[in-house]
Symmetry: C2
Subunit: 322 residues, 2 copies
């Protein structure tokens, strides 16, 4: 029988469920709504039922190894979701315990946050296969990260390590969503790129930019990309600056951990050289000679549409190694 693992990705609106095989292929995919008003026991029952339905269909040919869950503020050590700002379940939710109660037959049920899940996905199925020391940055609405040292994800003393999006790039710089000033996330996330575009239009009085007819609510990073490809100066400088900011942050990560490679994941990375080239150049400028021209910056090899459930499922295979 073919081995599969269940991957669950909990988002603010939807909970996505997938059956993923040992090479990271999605065999089945489904989901339920993440409730806007949280009755956690009801939600867990619905989730368990959806998982059972999906696995029942294939139980004769597939052998399910366990359930991996990626959730905002998911804590691997405690198996809890702690004060997740975008979920309606408040406080500390003993998620793994609630799931184990419903699936006593599984030895491997594990939880972590979404960026860590993606990082384990990259290690088990993706471009980091065989790497013992690497880091992944996920660029999206926020900037997440996962760190692998000696083949294991770094969880830190409390389960919350790998928040590189909240390192300080610019002292007293832009307010970050977390309340502090000048964090990397305020510059290198998709909204950070939009803020950079608006700063540049203000600086140059750029009435002839292709971005000049978009409101702050309208503008997104895809529009900035399209404008950059069409040669728009403001849009090109947005990528140049974003790479400069990101490279500075990646250099800090290298000075901590000396990884073999840093993987970038998420929307902005679709811009390819537009973002990778200035990032690499800026990182090199900030590095000690001992690290120069040694550390690769690579695009994630995970299927971006399914990366969350694929990453979550990888937790199961990682647990099975132990």
């Amino acid at each position: 029988m073919k081995k599969v693992a269940v991957g669950v990705d909990i988002g603010g609106t939807n909970t996505t469920i997938g059956l993923i095989d040992e090479v990271g292929k999605v065999i089945a995919k489904g989901g339920i709504k993440t409730p806007a008003h949280g009755d956690i026991e009801k939600y867990m029952d619905d989730l368990a039922e959806a998982i059972r339905e999906m696995t029942a269909l294939t139980s004769e040919v597939l052998s399910v190894q366990g359930i991996g869950v990626g959730a905002p503020n998911g804590n691997y050590y405690s198996g809890t979701i702690d004060y997740a700002p975008n979920l309606s379940f408040k406080g500390i939710i003993p998620f793994v315990a609630l799931l184990k109660k419903r699936f006593p037959e599984f030895d491997h049920i594990a939880l972590t946050n979404d960026a860590n899940a993606a990082t384990i996905g990259e290690m088990i199925y993706g471009g980091a296969k065989g790497m013992k020391n690497f880091v992944m940055y996920t660029l999206g609405t926020g900037v997440g990260s996962g760190i692998v040292v000696n083949g294991d994800l770094v969880y830190g003393h409390d389960g919350f390590a790998g928040e590189c999006g909240h390192t300080t790039l610019i002292p007293n710089g832009r307010p970050c969503g977390c309340g502090a000033l000048g964090h990397l996330e305020a510059y290198c996330s998709a909204p950070g790129m939009k803020r950079t575009a608006f700063e540049l239009m203000a600086k140059y009085n750029a009435v002839d930019s292709k971005l000049a007819d978009k409101s702050f609510l309208e503008l997104d990073s895809k529009m900035i990309y399209d404008a950059a490809v069409a040669g728009d100066k403001v849009a090109l400088e947005v990528f140049e600056l974003t790479g400069k900011y990101l490279g500075q942050g990646l250099a800090d990560t290298v000075h901590h951990l000396s990884p073999e490679a840093i993987f970038l994941f998420g929307g902005p990375t679709a811009a390819g050289d537009l973002i990778f080239k200035p990032t690499q150049q800026s990182m090199e400028e900030h590095l000690l000679p001992i690290f120069k021209d040694k550390i690769k910056i690579l695009p994630s090899e995970l299927d971006s549409g399914n990366a969350a459930i694929i990453g979550a499922s990888a937790l199961v295979y990682k647990e099975m190694e132990k």
Copy 2:
């Protein structure tokens, strides 16, 4: 018989050798000159002879477990000293191999850089005993660091991880000794504090400061400390700013690794609250809420006069755990 380990600290001028017992007590101490013009085989012979003399004296009551070496640019993986800027031996020196040739009887001969050695010393003998996740910053002429994750030192993919002194604090800030701009070391090392003092005297035209009669060559961090204790405003602001800089850097480290504690080692830490208080306050300001009021900043418990050989010897006990 009592177990001891040999600890060797290689500096630009002197090589210090110690016999250290299992609780980190120095049983014997000696040394030889590090040669200014490098004949490496001759130096290794002299070093081996000095180690043999020291261990011979006590061979009836002590059982020597191995040799640990701390050296600038010492690489744990390869056992080599690579392009150390302050040593007369150029290129890549196969230090552990040269030592093993002279001490085939020892199973445990290991090498790392000085900051990593101090970090292992803190873990084996000092305040980090029992901690699985912590970080150490060594503040001196430079700023070194060592990172421990899950009870093991982080060496990275190439043996050179833990260079937190070279993270960027201030984009396009002060030139660092390594050639890059705005690195933490340029602000938080002893020379960095002197640079801050001179900046402040220039800013305030501080003719009445207790530091105003000192030349750039004369001023050292002990004088800044004495002036601060006597209430000198410039000197007090130097500590305030150094703590502010350092706290920003420590927050970056926390966002990467979520350690249980960060230990500070070296001359400037003798100033106690003068440096620890603003450092803690600044770190907290830069942290995600999830990390606030959780991460301890602690003074190293290693005997500062002997920390280098004590740390080097700890490498042996760490190897024996494997």
